[in-house]
């Protein structure tokens, strides 16, 4: 069994954290689970079914998503989309994400000060 490198491990953890935000954003449109997996992969956000489906269920239980079965096609599909509450939350989440991304970018900047100055401490 191949041992994951530290970079792979950290990368996987980072992706897992952002999948929730990405899934909520993509579910502005109606998508079924596997379709969402493929869309996420197209953005290089690799995710496993075992991670995504429980997440979708949790978000649905929290009232941020709603789902419905479409049995009209050849194969029944469970479609997920944002609930009203989820839609209301999305702009706040987007703003929060921008703040976090901005903060992390600043920290990652090699020119960023590492020590806190005496005045700020």
């Amino acid at each position: 069994m191949a041992v994951a490198s530290p970079l792979e491990k950290i990368g996987a953890e980072l992706r897992r954290g952002v999948i929730q935000v990405a899934a909520l954003s993509l579910l502005r449109d109606k998508l079924y689970g596997y379709q969402l997996v493929k869309v996420l992969r197209s953005y290089s956000l690799e995710t496993e079914e075992g991670t995504l489906y429980p997440l979708l269920r949790r978000l649905e239980t929290q009232g941020l998503l709603r789902s419905e079965w479409d049995t009209a096609g050849a194969r029944p599909r469970k479609y997920y989309t944002l609930s009203d509450e989820g839609r209301a939350l999305l702009p706040q989440l987007t703003k929060l994400w921008a703040e976090i991304a901005d903060a992390v970018s600043q920290v990652l900047n090699p020119a960023a000060p590492v020590a806190v100055s005496e005045d700020e401490a």
Binding site: G50, R57, R75
Partner: protein, 329 residues
């Protein structure tokens, strides 16, 4: 799909099902979703030219261990989910304290306490330490079992009647505030509708009532103010749940705090909160002493409560001043 392939897929799904929690409907729903995903992936692979047999093997291998997948889809519910442990312990402790206080009240009065939902029997007098310990243990077991039943039934009830706070579970503050509104409303109902049985009526034992004459007139006289305080707290928590911290919310919070202070100070000044003068003759004159002791305890609790409430109200006043300083919101 060949019967062999179908059987292989079904076996995988059956194994996943054994590791799933949830009820039959939830499992069915999860299994169907899992199955359609697997079939979708098989279709993609066969579309790329792979044989069905190869495709199903690869897809099932990629999906990983069937039971792990089943467990991650619908986790088996723990008897007490980790997030519920703390409220469970706090609520069980509160129930036990109230329950055992009633046992002691019944013991002091020397008679059973008939409540609308059961009877609380007194300890034999004089209370032997072993009897006291056994009754405390028995009470604790009963209360823990009762709370476990409530916690087991609560998710099902919430699913059935779809309580609003389920949908708000991402916002812990809001959920907590709505829960506190529920408990405040429950307190108001108990105070107002069960007061004859439980709290606010002094019934002398000589009248032959089975009621423990525990609560004196001091509390009954303040029922109106208690209600105003409760109503103010309910409005405050609803506002916090809806708008978080705003000027209006803070003003109502300060008003609720002042109401609380008024009520607690009135209770401190009241003549008798607890009255055991009509208690069982086996206690004789000691009933009066016990009543006085209980009164002192309640007065101390009320004074401490008033001090804490005053500090909190002051803090809210400063916060309001801070918000005003920042300009209109």
């Amino acid at each position: 799909m060949s019967p062999d392939m179908k059987q292989k897929l079904q076996r995988w799904l059956d194994e996943a099902s054994t590791a799933m929690g949830g009820d039959a409907d939830e499992r069915q729903d999860a299994l169907l979703e899992l199955e359609t995903t697997i079939l979708e992936r098989i279709d993609e692979r066969t579309g790329d030219g792979e044989s069905q047999s190869e495709a199903i093997d690869i897809v099932l291998r990629d999906m990983g261990d069937s039971q792990e997948m089943g467990a991650s889809f619908l986790p088996q519910p723990a008897l007490l989910p980790p997030h519920a442990t703390r409220p469970f312990l706090i609520q069980t402790a509160a129930l036990f304290a109230a329950h055992f206080l009633l046992v002691l009240g019944a013991t002091v009065a020397g008679r059973s306490l008939d409540l609308p939902f059961g009877s609380i029997t007194p300890l034999p007098l004089p209370p032997h330490p072993l009897a006291l310990f056994l009754r405390a243990f028995e009470t604790l077991c009963f209360d823990t079992g009762f709370m476990l039943l409530v916690y087991a039934a609560l998710p099902k009830v919430q699913r059935l009647i779809r309580l609003p706070h389920l949908k708000l579970s991402t916002d812990v503050d809001r959920t907590r505030k709505l829960e506190s509104v529920f408990f405040l409303a429950l307190t108001a109902v108990v105070l107002n509708f069960f007061r004859d049985d439980l709290l606010a009526l002094y019934v002398p034992a000589e009248e032959g009532s089975a009621q423990v004459p525990l609560v004196g007139p001091g509390l009954s006289e303040n029922l109106l103010f208690l209600n105003v305080w409760l109503a103010a707290m309910i409005v405050r928590d609803l506002l916090y749940a809806r708008y978080k911290e705003r000027r209006t919310t803070l003003v109502v919070d300060i008003f609720a705090g002042l109401c609380g202070l008024f009520v607690l100070l009135r209770l401190v000044a009241a003549e008798k909160l607890v009255d055991l003068s009509g208690a069982h003759e086996s206690l004789g004159r000691s009933a009066e002493g016990m009543g006085a002791l209980l009164n002192s305890v309640f007065v101390i609790v009320a004074v401490v409560g008033a001090a804490l409430l005053a500090a909190r109200t002051m803090q809210r006043v400063f916060r309001l001043a801070q918000l005003r300083g920042r300009g209109p919101r």
